[in-house]
Symmetry: C2
DNA sequence: CAGAGCCGGTAGACACTGTCTACGACAGGT
DNA sequence: ACCTGTCGTAGACAGTGTCTACCGGCTCTG
């Protein structure tokens, strides 16, 4: 029932909402409970610890990203190379748009704390999707698709992080992370015939 | 005088030492003061706030990394391509060896908090060195050396992070981040005649 | 229908944190 | 001797995460 466990979802939503304006450090247990209109002991009924609540919030971030990716892939062209392109740009743009959420999603202590609150399984479907796309884009490559996909993901992730704290702007004078994304993809997959990075004057059909 | 401001250095050393075994979350102001044998108010004489102390500790991490890089480059071969290779491997290995320190060094709130405790200036010399090496390695390239160096740095950083929380092992079954580093460098700079990372089965030419 | 039990949330305590302020040695200079 | 500045101590305060006792309603059962 959606009405049941309503507070659980409300707490997660309040936390995600809070992340739109505040840094992850502002996500204290008591503050979330306060904004949800309950006492500070109420969250404990659903989350055994503070980290578990943060983990659930981060999980909702992964769900959001996954939803954005699937809808973007549905409206995009079908060939895997451009699908990878849209997915890559979406990843970096998501990181730049939802900075605090992105930061929370990849916090080490949330990821590697064993048990069910680990976030690895939340990020793994996205990686699997990338692996499949990479395998489809270059069917007979030397290295395995997993290795290539992991390398692409690492490069994208590093670009997103460096972009987020302004190092790319400061060091390389870049005003947009998109060229870096395109450079990564061409380096690993070869050039794409339809470069999807810039607002393509040609409507994809 | 070195004897003067002795407590300042001691606090930083204690914090760095603590990071060898504990996570950055264990670096509380009072715990550091406790281990340094002073009261909890003493650090305030040298660091106006907790973040300032953490910043100084992270700075010492950058100093450590820089020292390792310079000594490694001195004993390495002279041509810039292999110097970049040693520097890249050292970066990822440093991240894997000093996980907590690496995590602290790239914390967003430490980096972008304006003022003198920003860490950007601590990481910038290393980036400048990489830019120079890249410029020397490929004197007449299409893109600027800054852009290439930033792309390489982003890829290396992403690899270091993904490796650190085990995603590369789990997703791609890798047991060593070194092949990823080599793949990054060959993708951006072309193959190196003497591959220093793995015993390459096929000599690249 | 009455009572028992549980479910979901409240309220208070505890140890701990970062920050602030007042205070206390203790040195050197005039 | 006295003042003055430095360096560190000690205590207070608000805020945090966790734990425990409690309690109002609800449902299920006899």
């Amino acid at each position: 029932m959606p009405a049941d466990d309503a507070l659980r979802d409300r707490l997660v939503r309040v936390g995600a909402e809070l992340l739109r304006t505040e840094s992850p450090g502002a996500l204290s247990l008591r503050e979330i409970a306060r904004r949800a209109g309950v006492s500070h002991g109420a969250p404990r009924r659903y989350f055994p610890t503070h980290l578990a609540l943060l983990s659930a919030i981060a999980r909702s971030g992964f769900a959001d990203l996954s939803a954005q990716v699937t809808t973007a892939l549905r409206t995009a062209a079908q060939d895997p190379r451009t699908q990878i392109t849209t997915m890559a740009h979406l990843y970096v743009r998501f990181a730049a748009t939802n900075r605090s959420m992105f930061e929370l999603m990849f916090r080490h202590d949330l990821l590697q704390s064993g048990g069910h609150l680990g976030l690895r399984d939340a990020s793994l479907p996205l990686f699997r999707l990338l692996v499949d796309l990479v395998a489809a884009a270059r069917p007979a490559a030397g290295t395995s698709a997993e290795i290539s996909a992991a390398a692409i993901w690492a490069a994208l992730h590093g670009t997103a992080e460096l972009w987020n704290w302004g190092s790319l702007t400061l060091a390389a004078g870049a005003t947009d992370p998109a060229p870096f994304v395109d450079a990564i993809l061409t380096a690993h997959l070869g050039p794409s015939e339809h470069n999807a990075a810039m607002p393509a004057p040609e409507g994809s059909r």
